[in-house]
């Protein structure tokens, strides 16, 4: 077996090891992306409301 193949095979436990790292990456990465998008949205909302308020004054 090649060195790369052995790396991905994880000594025969590929399914368990890669699933564990995959779930961790998906959950923590997903939370990071969600939190970041909501943050951008909150900035846009505040700016829009401030503009609206400014125009009405």
């Amino acid at each position: 077996m090649t060195e790369i193949g052995a790396f991905f095979a994880m000594g025969g436990y590929a399914g368990f090891v890669w699933s564990a790292y995959g779930i961790a990456a998906a959950v923590l990465g997903g939370l990071s992306v969600y939190s970041w998008r909501r943050y951008r949205d909150s900035i846009v909302t505040v700016e829009r409301l401030q503009q609206d308020l400014g125009r009405r004054r």
Binding site: V17, Y21, S42, R56
Partner: protein, 258 residues
């Protein structure tokens, strides 16, 4: 120190600079940690390559416990001293803690199947961590259950404080009861009992997870403060009479605010 940090305007100024630094530091440290965990660290002489699951599982478990402690301390400060940022911090961190707890449970299950022969067993350690996960979910549900955010916040803060009793149960469950889960190997009296080649990636991943937590916490707190500001602006907009027709959009947004 807490008083000084509890000023939301000061927090916004500081976190605007600190959050990106923490985020990039987390990405860098986690990249190093992943390389070390998956490539550099040796396979275990008994467990083979499944031991690599440890480098995600154990730091996630540490984060699950320490983030809960953070939620509880912030809740206590919010209840007793009514610091404006404490409740925001508790609310912002609970979903992060829940995510770490889920990662801990899922990776533990994927480690248990090849090593114990079972995805799940109802022993003291696993059950008490599952309860921790439900405590997080209960906190999040309660914090968002009321139209008036401050009422939900207080109820959730009380739940967070009561749930602290679960933390020592989790920590000492492996000593108090017969359990399939192995006892502590790193945070034990007499120092860590784990080879340095495995301790190094474990600690690097723990530092990476901590940095990720701090970065996410700041981003989520900034989001919450922005959303509060938006709510105040909407109320403010409703108080000023509209100068011309066609601008009811902002005023009508008021109706969702109790």
């Amino acid at each position: 120190m807490i008083n000084w940090l509890a000023n939301p305007a000061r927090f916004m100024r500081l976190s605007a600079r600190a959050a990106p630094w923490c985020g990039w530091a987390a990405a860098f440290v986690l990249a190093v940690g992943l390389f070390w965990s998956l490539v550099v660290a040796p396979p275990d002489y008994q467990q083979g390559d499944t031991v690599r699951i440890m480098y995600v599982h154990v730091p996630a478990a540490w984060m699950a416990l320490s983030v809960y402690l953070f939620v509880a301390v912030a809740s206590a400060i919010a209840l007793v001293w009514r610091h404006p940022l404490a409740e925001v911090a508790a609310r912002a961190s609970a979903p992060i803690g829940a995510a770490f707890t889920f990662v801990c449970l899922a990776t533990g299950s994927l480690w248990g199947r090849p090593m114990w022969g079972a995805w799940w067993v109802w022993d003291a350690r696993l059950t008490s961590v599952l309860i921790l996960f439900f405590l997080y979910l209960g906190y999040i549900a309660l914090a968002n259950a009321f139209d008036d955010p401050s009422r939900g916040g207080r109820a959730a803060a009380v739940l967070a404080l009561v749930g602290v009793v679960n933390l020592p149960i989790i920590k000492f469950s492996v000593d108090w009861w017969n359990t399939l889960h192995q006892p502590a190997s790193v945070m034990r009296i007499g120092g860590p009992r784990i080879a340095i080649s495995m301790l190094a990636p474990l600690l690097i991943m723990a530092v990476g997870f901590t940095l990720l937590f701090v970065a996410l916490l700041m981003v989520r707190m900034r989001t919450a403060l922005n959303e509060r500001k938006a709510m105040a602006l909407r109320l403010n907009a409703g108080a000023i009479p509209a100068p011309r027709p066609g601008r009811e959009r902002v005023a009508s947004a008021n109706t969702v605010v109790p």
